[in-house]
């Protein structure tokens, strides 16, 4: 039998060690990303990399322009935001302000369940149901398009947007609503003119986190966006995203080659973008807490 003191100190050390391990792992990931990615830029100009139209990593001479991939990610993500933000925010309002208590509880657990579906599953369902539907509905040669990707990603961003917005809306003090109602405002006017602005920072943070989630999404978009590395002209064109490129090509590259390093460089760009988005979201969330 250990004394309680000894048990305590062992547990304490274990927790400390796992904390350190987590930090160490993240730093290592970051270190490798930087080393391989930055190594790429000593041989290939950043400008050509970001603004180049052609991604031909295996031809001779090779071209490493990721503009079409950036555009692909942008199209799919923006499309997802355009769909997910209004629907998600309205759903959040419905859940926190309109729905009766029993409905609210069911919806909230339903949304948490949605968040738990693995993205491969969502991608697969999208591939067999959504893609043919989009092809027939819009009469396009293939349903594998930015639009299908956006729909799918909107679906994946929705749980984050709904649940965090709902928290923000629910934490608007009752006294504000009471004041609005006592002035003869209808329920709708109260929501639109008082609750929405008061919850706006939290809602913005929710949107940013939702988008941050989908911009890094890989499996689902790889399965349904068509994977064509060309600059899209409309949302119904097939596109290829940065994440899909890394996932699809990493297995075939020679370690240490330009292609290999180029994929790390894409990762670096992605990292910077998500970092900025999360940073903005954090700023808004902190403002809410104050």
């Amino acid at each position: 039998m250990f004394s309680r003191k000894v048990t305590d100190s062992i547990i304490e050390k274990l927790i400390f060690a796992s904390g350190i391990a987590a930090i160490l792992l993240v730093s290592l990931i970051f270190f490798f990303l930087l080393r391989e990615g930055l190594g790429f830029f000593s041989e290939y100009s950043i400008k050509d990399f970001i603004t180049g139209h052609f991604w031909y990593p295996t031809s001779k001479p090779a071209a490493f322009g990721i503009l079409s991939l950036i555009m692909g990610s942008l199209f799919v993500t923006l499309g997802a935001a355009v769909i997910a933000v209004p629907v998600g925010v309205m759903a959040a309002f419905y859940i926190s302000e309109v729905a009766p208590v029993s409905v609210r509880d069911v919806l909230k657990s339903g949304i948490e369940l949605l968040a738990a579906i693995p993205s491969v599953v969502i991608g697969f369902i999208g591939m067999v149901t959504l893609v043919p539907l989009v092809r027939v509905m819009f009469d396009i040669p293939t349903g594998l398009s930015a639009f299908s990707g956006s729909l799918m990603l909107a679906f994946m961003a929705m749980p984050t947007i709904v649940s965090i917005s709902e928290d923000a809306i629910r934490s608007v003090p009752w006294t504000y609503k009471e004041a609005a109602l006592s002035l003869g405002a209808t329920k709708w006017q109260t929501m639109y003119r008082i609750v929405l602005p008061a919850a706006a920072p939290g809602i913005l943070a929710a949107v940013m986190l939702g988008i941050g989630r989908v911009i890094g999404e890989t499996m689902a978009v790889m399965m349904i966006t068509g994977n064509a590395a060309a600059i899209p002209e409309s949302i119904f064109d097939p596109v290829r995203t940065m994440t899909a490129t890394i996932a699809a090509e990493m297995g075939e590259t020679v370690k240490g080659s330009m292609h290999y390093k180029g994929l790390f460089a894409i990762g670096l760009v992605l990292f910077v973008i998500t970092f900025i988005i999360n940073f903005i979201a954090d700023t808004f969330l902190n403002r809410v807490k104050k």
Binding site: P173, Y176, L183, G184
Partner: protein, 252 residues
């Protein structure tokens, strides 16, 4: 003529009866104060007058409240509660301006009731702020967030926000309890000024305040309206023993 007529009103929170057979009439352009120990039902009664109790679960009200001869308690679909609240406004215990600018706070009611064209808006906002004597202090800070004002200024702003929609009746639920004595004196001054145009009902814990500002006073105890009459009479020659005990501080 009585603007508010309460007849035989009972109110239940579930099984608990918070208001018992209250009869009372409130005259226009006077200040009526409601006094009584904590929990006797003052706020509950006040909030009935603009139906702010509507959202509470398990509440049941019987009897009648007529305002301008119209029964406001009827629950039929065509009765417009929002219109009632425009006519009978309320100022709360804790100053609760919206987290918007000073200007938008006052403009809120004008906007939602479409009482002003956008060209008239700033004139009406100015008028309301002048009526609560905030204009001189705030005219250069209309774009500031209202939450940055002092407590007294916030409470005045809440009054300004209310009178912008030109109500007939103003309900005040302990409007000074968060304020210091100097700010309280100023708000009392404001009430006397507003009395010329509005009918005011104030709930207060402060008996001196009731004696200073009100024309009529009602004393409540355990949900009953024990006595209602001219303020001078209630404080100097109460008819009921319980009222006398309370106003002379011998209560409880």
């Amino acid at each position: 003529m009585a603007i508010v007529e309460i007849k035989n009103m009972d109110l239940f929170y579930g099984a608990f009866q918070a208001i018992k057979k209250v009869n009372m009439s409130i005259e226009a352009n006077r200040i009526t104060s409601m006094i009584g120990p904590s929990g006797c039902g003052k706020s509950t009664l006040l909030r009935c007058l603009n139906r702010m109790n509507d959202n509470i679960e398990g509440i049941k009200i019987t009897g009648k409240i007529d305002i301008d001869g119209i029964d406001i308690l009827r629950s039929d679909e065509e009765f417009d509660v929002d219109a009632l609240r425009r006519k009978v406004g309320m100022v709360f215990q804790r100053p609760n301006p919206f987290p918007l600018t000073v200007f938008e706070n006052v403009a809120f009611g004008l906007r939602i009731h479409k009482l002003a064209k956008s060209s008239e808006l700033s004139g009406l906002v100015e008028e309301s702020l002048k009526a609560v004597m905030l204009w001189e202090d705030l005219k250069d800070r209309l774009g500031n967030n209202a939450l940055n004002l002092s407590l007294e200024q916030r409470q005045r702003l809440c009054v300004a926000r209310l009178i912008a929609v030109k109500p007939d009746i103003i309900l005040l639920d302990e409007p000074c309890s968060a304020l210091d004595p100097i700010a309280t004196a100023k708000i009392e001054e404001l009430m006397l000024e507003l009395k010329k145009k509005y009918t005011i009902v104030i709930v207060t814990h402060n008996m001196q305040q009731a004696a200073r500002v009100s024309d009529d006073t009602g004393f409540m105890l355990l949900g009953e309206l024990v006595e209602f009459g001219k303020t001078s009479q209630i404080f100097t020659a109460p008819k009921e023993k319980k009222t006398e005990d309370y106003v002379t501080g011998r209560f409880g």
